[in-house]
């Protein structure tokens, strides 16, 4: 975007909504928490699969993790099939707690 666009009214920066540059206050705090959750969501879901790849000894993925038994399950079955759903429930639970808290503070301030 090097060519200069025709002049148009510049909106008040306060009306901007941008996930990467949220305005200060409620939105910035909420976005910060959203980032924490997104990262823990991605890290546990996709990161574990990369861990499987890193520790595999055969092209099929057998390795240290798949040979470990936890609660009677091969570790990767326990993690993806049972634990991740619990993890998702926890993530949603903490997100709601946080948003409730944030809303209470900011409604009081208004």
């Amino acid at each position: 975007m090097t060519d200069t666009p025709p002049p148009r009214p510049v909106p008040n920066p306060d009306y901007r909504v941008n996930f990467f540059r949220p305005r200060a206050g409620y939105l910035r705090q909420k976005v910060r928490y959203t980032w924490v959750l997104l990262i823990s969501w991605a890290f546990f879901t996709l990161g574990f699969q990369f861990l499987l790849l890193l520790t595999q000894d055969t092209p099929e993925g057998d390795g240290l993790i798949t040979e470990t038994i936890l609660f009677g399950f091969p570790l990767h079955y326990w993690f993806s099939g049972q634990f991740l759903i619990v993890w998702f429930i926890l993530l949603c639970f903490f997100f709601n707690l946080f948003v409730d808290h944030l809303t209470r503070i900011h409604r009081k301030n208004r």
């Binding site: 148009r8 901007r16 941008n18 099929e60 091969p74 998702f88 997100f95 944030l102």
Partner: protein, 507 residues
């Protein structure tokens, strides 16, 4: 398909449960009519969560996941993780904000945010396409179960199932029965878990909570030769696993009939908390589905059934029923599973057809073709569209080459490549313009159908962009296209940006 005549007990059970849910629906009748998804009087957060779950559970959850697990082992967890993790994305990125927009459907949201009839029409078309693909998978499930109950071949079962489904829809519509989602969730989950406990007990495994106790069965399978391999990448590479999982997650967050669920909840805070319950209730089913497949493998092994791949593939989508048969359950108990599957598929089909027909009658017919149409005429068109969509789905479902879960995944890929980016950027970047949204949806359509239709023809494309998993590359690509086009075109009107900042993102 073995045709060994009609199974009387399951057929009677099916009739009874359908009649019962009609009666429960009549008892909870509301004045608003069946064309609104009403959740009735205050049912609490757990009740709303049960409604989310019952709305969500389809033949893909009930039959499909176990089928994939039976064939592909660890690969099936891409579905389990994708279809639960998607709700996390939906909750933290979009649910509250879309609700603040106060728009009930995807096309309405697109119109309100982007102020463009073209974008709205595109969103409506995409909604209809998602409906068609999603319903095809449901119809396959209905036909398979009907062929099991009535001992017919696949195609006659498809017609019979369609006739019963449409008959049920029309009957509950004329009588004005509302869908009692809590009753339905209860029925579904009991239909799924009780037979599973009996199977586990018969085969000598921990039966009180088979979801926690099937590890021993799994390990036994892993040791037995010619059986399910427990290694993660035997039936698909790590890339395929991750691509599929990601696609299902973004697809869940963009699926029109999931989003509309949030408007029936009285307040925002309850809507948010009900998602926690929703994932738990959905999780109950997803913790259980792999147990069916594992125990089916065990029972099959001990009965020394043939296990060649072709035969296994033909069995896969009915594996929850086969598990019961091989474990030696009485016919009526297996019938309970079959009835649960039919109810799950019927209710999903109903919800989707209404969404799809609404998109046609309101967003395309009323807004584009005939703006003078009155309420009565639009309702008439909606009913006609429901029927036409249902018939189109029957044609698509006559010979679907894929498994139920795989067909469903294509619908998720479409939602993830089109509606998800449009929602996400629409909410989180006020600069997204209507041209950006239109370009994004067109790119998403091209990616989805390119992967679906050209995948088998162009070498390498099918590996990089599997039709069921195209959103890992597709969704980021669409987001980039939307950002590029938005920056090159004028910003959206000031009032929309102001509304987004002051109302949608308000505390």
């Amino acid at each position: 398909m073995p045709s060994d005549g009609i199974k009387l007990a399951p057929a009677l059970l099916l009739a009874c449960i359908l009649a019962l849910s009609l009666l429960v629906g009549l008892a909870g009748r509301t004045s608003k009519g069946a064309y609104y998804l009403v959740s009735g009087p205050s049912v609490g957060r757990a009740g709303i969560g049960a409604a989310i779950a019952s709305n969500w559970m389809s033949a893909a959850s009930f039959l499909g996941i176990a089928g994939i697990f039976y064939l592909q082992g660890y690969m099936a967890f891409a579905y389990v993780v994708g279809w639960t993790g998607g709700y996390v994305l939906l909750l933290i990125l979009m649910a509250a904000q879309i609700r603040r927009f106060g728009k009930y459907t995807a096309p309405e949201f697109v119109e309100a945010r982007y102020d463009s009839p073209v974008a709205r029409c595109l969103a409506a078309t995409i909604t209809i396409l998602i409906t068609l693909i999603y319903c095809t998978a449901q119809y396959k499930g209905i036909a398979l179960v009907f062929s099991w109950i009535f001992g017919l071949d696949y195609t006659p079962s498809l017609f019979l199932g369609t006739a019963v489904g449409i008959g049920y829809l029309v009957l509950s519509g004329t009588l004005g029965a509302s869908r009692n989602q809590q009753f339905q969730y209860g029925t579904l989950i009991l239909c799924f878990i009780i037979p599973l406990m009996v199977i586990a007990k018969k085969l000598g495994y921990f039966w009180v909570l088979p979801q926690l106790g099937y590890g021993r069965a799994l390990c036994e399978l892993g040791r037995a030769p010619h059986h399910l391999s427990l290694a993660p990448w035997t039936s698909g590479t790590a890339y395929e696993w991750i691509a599929l999982c990601f696609t299902l997650m973004v697809g869940t967050a963009g699926l029109p009939h999931v989003l509309s669920r949030f408007y029936t909840v009285p307040n925002l805070r309850d809507a948010r908390w009900s998602v926690v319950w929703g994932i738990f209730f959905i999780g109950l089913l997803y913790w259980s589905a792999p147990v069916y497949a594992t125990l089916a493998r065990i029972a099959q092994g001990s009965a020394e059934m043939p296990t060649d791949p072709e035969a296994a593939r033909a069995l896969a989508d009915l594996i929850v029923l086969k598990a019961g048969e091989w474990a030696g359950l009485p016919s009526w108990l297996i019938g309970i599973i079959a009835v649960g599957a039919v109810i799950a598929a019927f209710s999903t089909v109903t919800g989707l057809l209404i969404t799809g027909a609404g998109a046609f009658s309101y967003d395309i017919y009323y807004r584009l073709i005939n703006p003078a149409a009155d309420e009565k005429k639009r309702m008439y068109v909606a009913k006609g569209a429901t029927l036409v969509l249902a018939l189109l789905v029957v044609v698509l479902a006559v010979n679907p080459p894929w498994l139920i879960a795989q067909i469903t995944a294509v619908a998720f890929a479409l939602a993830g490549n089109t509606l998800f980016p449009v929602f996400l950027l629409g909410i989180w970047w006020d600069r997204t313009s209507k041209q950006g949204a239109v370009a994004g949806m067109l790119t998403g359509l091209a990616v989805t159908f390119g992967a679906l239709l050209l995948g088998p023809l162009v070498p390498g494309l099918g590996t990089a962009l599997p039709a069921t998993s195209s959103a890992l590359i597709g969704a980021p690509l669409v987001i980039l296209v939307m950002i590029g086009v938005s920056l090159a075109t004028p910003p959206p009107p000031e009032e929309i940006r102001r509304f987004l900042a002051e109302e949608v993102h308000a505390p």
